[in-house]
């Protein structure tokens, strides 16, 4: 009896968790799942990777994509890129910020400024991109995910999988190709096997496009894709590391408390036949 019940409960639990298994993902090629440094329970961001990803973003993607919720000062926050405050100050100063309150409506940037958007209005952005709108990057990494084949989604709950966004971006960046003969791609679109058809973004990356300071890191599309995906995850979830660190403490305290409660309960109930 107990056994049957336990099995049924297990099925019940699995069933309950089955719900969000319909997360968005695309039909095209089999996605590749990368080993992210920030994946899993113990994962943390690699500040060098984030800095490289930032470089790719800044030199390539930022020409079309905004990141409206990101301020320069975020780049010096702990658990992220870990730039020094003076580095961030110097970086911000390279940009001119529209500011109606200053003398000629413009001034140079300060760390508290938001990342400047490449286009003044949505219409400008569309006009420059064949009518398509490049989405804002601030939380984009959490607005996309990749589905695991078969029953893989069950595992997601146990490994706390939240790298679906970066996995998505990585696959998107690395699956541009010649369109197969039977696929018609409208003008102004580019075939992407992972996207499952035409996308209005031209392949943004190419080998050697961005020059990394660290010569030991390969300057390939694949490496850029990885780095910029990691950076996008950081933009969407800047406090990931602090959150996990606190999580460990909370779990340890809760488990210890549960054990104490169990022992207390057992002692207390030991003279009650129940």
């Amino acid at each position: 009896m107990i056994k049957a019940k336990t099995i049924l409960m297990a099925i019940a639990l699995a069933g309950l968790f089955s719900a969000p298994a319909n997360a968005s993902g695309t039909a095209g090629v089999e996605p590749k799942f990368s080993d992210w440094t920030f994946g899993g329970l113990f994962g943390t961001y690699d500040e060098h990777q984030l800095q490289r990803g930032f470089q790719v973003f800044r030199e390539v993607c930022a020409a079309c994509h905004s990141a409206n919720l990101i301020s320069f000062r975020n780049l010096s926050e702990e658990g992220g890129l870990n730039y020094s405050e003076s580095q961030v100050k110097a970086l911000a100063a390279e940009y001119t910020i529209a500011d109606p309150a200053s003398l000629d409506g413009e001034r140079s940037g300060i760390p508290a400024d938001r990342w400047p958007a490449p286009f003044a209005t949505e219409q400008d952005a569309r006009d420059a991109n064949n009518g398509a709108l490049p989405p804002d990057f601030s939380v984009l990494a959490k607005a996309r995910t990749v589905q695991r084949p078969g029953l893989g989604w069950i595992m997601n709950y146990f490994i706390a999988y939240q790298e679906g966004g970066p996995d998505y971006v990585y696959n998107l960046m690395t699956n541009y190709a010649e369109a197969p003969h039977d696929v018609e791609i409208p003008a102004g679109q580019y075939y992407n096997a992972f996207f499952g058809g035409g996308i209005a973004m031209a392949p943004p990356l190419a080998d050697g496009l961005v020059t990394y300071d660290d010569a030991s890191v390969p300057m390939t599309t694949e490496q850029y894709a990885k780095d910029v995906s990691a950076f996008m995850m950081w933009m969407a979830e800047p406090h990931l590391i602090a959150r996990k660190e606190l999580g460990f403490k909370v779990l340890i305290i809760l488990s210890a408390f549960a054990v104490l409660m169990y022992l207390t309960k057992r002692k207390l109930w030991s003279n009650v036949k129940h």
């Binding site: 069933g15 995910t145 709950y157 460990f248 549960a258 409660m261 309960k265």
Partner: protein, 418 residues
């Protein structure tokens, strides 16, 4: 055990407390209901979920009040204000994550609590009102969760609001005016967001009030128990404190472990990625799916895609959708068995587990696209859902021969293998 005539039982020693207690017997009340209250000694862990639910309600209210301090209910600002909470407010990511994950944990607990009631016949006399208050709480919880989900103003928020308010348009004659009245306009917009925020703040307090009635109604007959045989004397019970309190505390701390797991390690995993896209009335998401805890009912809503006589499919869906919950109100009179506990009802027990599987199947189907085999399965599962209440329970409760009941809780306890 009634709520009155209790003040003479307990006299605080401290003169100040005694002075107060003579004027407002709050301490006597607390002593009677939270300390001395006789609790069956054979309660299993399924009976700890009431306390777990009380905790969930408390957590939602506390985290929700803090979120409301930083949230802006405006179509242009709401999405970013939630993101502002996650990024810039001290502890914001944890508070927001706890509230979002907390909703799921709350519903998980309430489903366990309800199915506990279904198995042990907790809805039977003399606990019918207690049960019906529970169903009211469940309805209020659904309304609250639905409106809360709209607040972050993501794509799923917006489209869930659109699809669900649209349900009301199916009501003949008055449907369209009701729809506009609910939305505060022709479409889901700023007015909708504002009223949902207002109601989302209000309803949890209404729930808290109904919970108090729920517990009042519980304290009239006292707890049921796994044997379904009412306690005979004080040998069958233990005082609520410390016995039940400690057991509940243990259960609560175990419950908090997966809760914390989600909050700290995967706060978004129970949600939908599309809700990280700001609401856009011009772009319909490919699959509009509700949160997991609404899926069984969503599957029932969609299963009725055919006209029934003069009732068109849309209205039919709404009737079955509403009926699937309202039917719970009649449960005490549909199941006429004198035996409460499923443990002593061999036929009922089988059908109970089949019903659980049916419910889970509906949950699964609610997440699938409405096409092909899923549609057929949803119809079968919906039919079975109603069949369970309207045919199986009335029939089984009349023809089944229950197993012999123990004469008392103590006897049942002694009979248990050590």
């Amino acid at each position: 055990m009634a709520l009155t005539h209790n003040s003479e039982k307990y006299d605080p020693k401290n003169p100040a407390l005694k002075w107060f207690n003579d004027r407002l017997p709050l301490l006597s009340f607390g002593k009677e209901h939270f300390v001395d209250f006789p609790t069956p000694k054979n309660l299993n862990y399924w009976w700890t979920f009431g306390m777990i639910l009380a905790l969930c309600l408390g957590v939602q209210i506390v985290t929700g009040i803090i979120l409301a301090m930083h949230f802006t209910p405006h179509v242009d600002l709401a999405f970013n204000s939630v993101e502002h909470i996650r990024r810039d407010v001290n502890w914001g990511r944890i508070i927001q994550g706890t509230h979002a994950v907390g909703a799921s944990m709350f519903f998980f607990a309430v489903y366990v609590h309800i199915f506990r009631g279904l198995f042990y016949g907790s809805y039977k006399a003399p606990r019918e009102v207690l049960w019906m208050l529970g169903v009211i709480i469940f309805l209020l919880m659904m309304a609250t969760a639905f409106m809360g989900y709209v607040l972050p103003w993501g794509q799923m928020s917006f489209w869930a609001a659109t699809v669900i308010t649209n349900i009301f348009a199916a009501i003949p004659l008055v449907g369209e005016p009701i729809l506009q009245w609910l939305r505060g306009g022709f479409a889901v917009d700023n007015a909708t967001l504002n009223r949902f925020f207002s109601l989302h703040y209000l309803l949890p307090f209404v729930i808290a009030a109904v919970v108090m009635l729920h517990i009042w109604a519980l304290h009239i007959p006292g707890n049921g128990n796994p044997t379904g045989v009412e306690p005979k004397d004080s040998h069958d019970t233990v005082p609520f404190t410390p016995y039940a309190t400690i057991k509940d505390l243990f259960a609560v701390s175990v419950f908090l472990i997966p809760f914390a797991w989600f909050v700290f390690f995967a706060p978004d995993i129970l949600g939908h990625p599309d809700n990280y896209i700001m609401a856009n009335s011009q772009v319909t998401p490919p699959h509009i799916v509700p949160e997991w805890y609404f899926l069984p009912f969503y599957a029932i809503l969609r299963a009725i895609d055919f006209n029934i006589l003069f009732i068109d499919s849309k209205l039919g869906g709404v009737i079955f959708f509403a009926g699937s919950i309202l039917i719970l109100f009649f449960l005490p009179w549909l199941d006429v068995s004198k035996v409460r506990s499923g443990s002593f009802r061999p036929m009922f027990r089988i059908f109970f587990w089949v019903f659980v599987l049916d419910f889970l199947l509906l949950m699964y189907l609610g997440a699938q696209p409405a096409e092909g085999i899923y549609v057929t399965l949803a119809k079968v599962a919906t039919a079975y859902y109603f069949l369970h209440f309207l045919v199986i329970l009335p029939v089984v409760s009349r023809i089944e021969t229950p197993k012999p009941l123990p004469t008392s809780i103590s006897e049942a306890v002694l009979a248990k293998p050590a």
